[in-house]
């Protein structure tokens, strides 16, 4: 019989190994799933994981998809460490896209250097404002930020739909629900000729550095971590919880808003009824897979970006629904959460020795 026995202290090693275990099991399960569905396993594996990154263009696309995931996940990691459960990054991303896009449309045909910085600023502010709502409701009324930020995501999606069907619709667009195409001055510079890789990728790396410095080199980062691990200790130490909630949410709103603006001013180039394939939700998986650490998030972001590309590639070559991406993302998070049990518990073979050592009751029976 398999039992779980608590470790004296969390295993650091397992913290690093668990994501790898989860990845391997996800790959194996994916192959079993494909085999069961009658999809040729070898071809599916190739289409999903090899083909997308077998060309320079594919690699650049990996960067295009990974950038928003990494930006948001770094910010989410900081909040999650402080026990601030913002799961509405998708909504904050959308608001960033709306505000940045609206500025671009306001300055339509203005060919000036200041358009793009203004758009970025608007995107950041839009995301922050949307994140400020759950922060305000949590600090003033004690309303659970999980539920409020989630509800706000749906409101944001509807708001975007409303705007592209109405005020921001292309006046010459035959009533299609989309805005004008953004002008050259309002689109992000490409950093690699012939690809869609834009300076958003550099922004993402910049945010990784900020996140790392913040968490490991500043008093604020320390306060965030203490608050998450031992709220009472944090309170005795004089860290104001409300300030940490505000900071976590606003920082995430800023990053997600910028990511949204990057999508609108980058690969998409206009406002559409949908501007993100769920980056804000996938970033939650990225944050966990990356161990809530900025450097880990970079690797996790690349893995998750590959799952998007793999889904698209499998759709083209194997005619699988693009939603198969979700199957892999969901499985990966399941296995990761399951593997994480190894950080705090040891797997023991044999019967529970409850009679002699009552402490072994701590283990959850499998």
């Amino acid at each position: 019989m398999i039992r779980l026995q608590p470790r004296a202290e969390p295993s650091k090693l397992m913290g690093y190994i668990a994501p790898l275990i989860a990845l391997v099991i996800t790959l194996l399960s994916g192959m079993v799933l494909f085999a069961l569905l009658g999809v040729p396993v070898g071809a599916a594996f190739y289409a999903f994981f090899i083909e997308p990154v077998s060309s320079l263009y594919g690699l650049s696309e990996l960067g295009v998809k990974a950038a928003p995931l990494i930006m948001i996940a770094v910010a989410l990691s900081i909040g999650y460490r402080a026990n601030v459960w913002n799961i509405g990054a998708e909504g904050q991303l959308i608001l960033g896209g709306i505000c940045g896009g609206a500025v671009a449309l306001y300055f339509y045909e203005v060919d000036a250097w200041y358009v793009l910085p203004l758009m970025m600023l608007a995107g950041v502010i839009g995301g922050m404002l949307w994140a400020a709502i759950p922060a305000l409701l949590r600090t003033q009324f004690n309303a659970n930020e999980i539920l409020t930020s989630l509800m706000l995501t749906y409101i944001a999606g509807l708001l975007l739909s409303l705007l592209v069907h109405g005020p921001l619709r292309d006046p010459d667009g035959f009533n299609f629900p989309e805005s004008r195409l953004l002008h050259d001055a309002a689109t992000l510079p490409i950093i690699m000729q012939g690809t869609r890789l834009h300076i958003g990728a550099l922004t993402a790396l910049f945010i990784v550095v900020i996140g790392w410095v913040l968490l490991s080199r500043t008093m604020l980062g320390f306060a965030l971590k203490v608050n998450g691990q031992a709220p009472n200790a944090g309170r005795y130490a004089g860290f104001t919880q409300n300030r940490l909630i505000w900071f976590s949410l606003l920082f995430c709103g800023a990053c997600a808003g910028l990511a949204g603006l990057n999508e609108v001013a980058g690969p998409i180039g206009q406002l559409l009824p949908s501007i993100s394939p769920g980056y804000g939700f996938t970033a939650i998986i990225v944050a966990f897979l990356g161990r809530l650490h900025p450097v880990g998030v970079v690797f996790a972001g690349l893995v998750m970006a590959l799952s998007y590309l793999g889904g698209e590639s499998a759709q083209i070559s194997l005619n699988l629904p693009v939603a198969v991406t979700g199957v892999f993302q969901g499985m990966l998070l399941f296995f990761l959460l399951a593997a994480d049990v190894l950080i705090n518990y040891r797997v023991v073979w044999g019967r529970a020795r409850t009679a002699r050592r009552p402490s072994s009751e701590h283990g959850a029976s499998l």
């Binding site: 009324f141 629904p321 969901g330 399941f334 959460l337």
Partner: protein, 310 residues
């Protein structure tokens, strides 16, 4: 434009069919949350129920087998959630989101061959004599069995939570797992059962969508109803009666926005669609403020993992 009774009946029936899946999904989640567990995977479980119920009903020609399969599929996904969060103590928020992402993907993958297939739908059942009452009879007593079932289920859950010992134990486990554990109640087993019940209800909600409401299979056909169901539980402040009211209120809003234009009311449909979410946030703020009497029914330990040794 004049409104006659047949039009009213038509609108009433569409409201019923819009509200019924919400009732099923939300009443299940209500029990889950009452036991102290927050399962954000409702949308995924609904889709699993929708696709598998439709597939089996289509293959076997039996609506009953389809519904049973859909319920089973919802429970299977709920079991994954329960195992991860209860046995392995994983984060409920993360696991629930994974369940939704997984369920959307898996149902799309499995349902691909089912797209475009027609299904006659679950037959309606007219209650003898009552169905002959003009307007009311047409509205209330000529529906499919699942609609009647949704009312019976809400009543049953309400009575169960309020008047039975088992219901009291569920509430105790949700309010204070430590005290319940100290009294000798099996906290984890209760939460397992509640989570499975939630999965069964979500599966049933999915079946209603693919076998009665539409009836067909389409990718992501639940279209956010799982999230509305989650909102609904909070909106109803964890009370089955209010939940029933809320489901018809939310369902009514979605239907009215379809008809609003016909009545010459020019409100963008997106604004109407926002209402359930805005209302839920407002209710959440009201019940969260300390000292609010609405707070009495909120399960105190919701979302927290239970460690039997603490």
């Amino acid at each position: 434009m004049s409104i006659d009774s047949s039009m009213l009946v038509m609108i009433g029936l569409t409201i019923i069919s819009a509200a019924t899946p919400l009732v099923f999904a939300a009443i299940g989640e209500l029990v889950v949350e009452k036991s102290g567990v927050l399962n954000l995977g409702v949308e995924g479980m609904m889709l699993a129920g929708a696709v598998s119920g439709f597939a089996v009903a289509h293959l076997t020609g039996s609506a009953l087998l389809g519904v049973l399969t859909g319920v089973g599929a919802g429970m299977l996904l709920a079991l994954i959630f329960a195992f991860l969060t209860l046995s392995l103590r994983a984060s409920q928020v993360a696991t629930g989101l994974a369940l939704t992402i997984f369920g959307i993907g898996l149902s799309a993958l499995l349902g691909q061959p089912l797209i475009g297939i027609a299904y006659e739908g679950i037959p309606n059942y007219s209650v003898p004599y009552l169905a002959d009452i003009p307007v009311l009879g047409q509205l209330l007593f000529q529906n499919d069995l699942l609609v009647y079932g949704s009312f019976a289920l809400v009543l049953a859950v309400s009575l169960f939570l309020k008047y039975t010992q088992a219901g009291l134990i569920v509430r105790a486990v949700g309010d204070s797992p430590d005290a319940a554990h100290a009294l000798g109640y099996p906290v984890l087993r209760v939460r397992y059962l509640a989570t499975l019940f939630g999965g069964a209800c979500a599966g049933l909600a999915g079946c209603y969508l693919s076998m009665a409401y539409a009836p067909m299979w389409a990718e992501s056909m639940s279209a956010g109803r799982g999230w509305i169901a989650l909102a609904l539980v909070v909106f109803a402040t964890w009370r089955p009666g209010r939940l029933l009211f809320g489901a018809y209120f939310f369902g009514g809003i979605t239907i009215l926005q379809l008809h609003a234009q016909a009545f010459g009311i020019i409100v963008p449909s997106q604004l109407m669609s926002m209402l359930p979410y805005i209302a839920t946030i407002a209710v959440l703020v009201l019940i969260s403020s300390t000292g609010s009497s609405l707070r009495r029914n909120a399960p105190a330990s919701i979302g927290q993992a239970f460690h039997p040794t603490k």
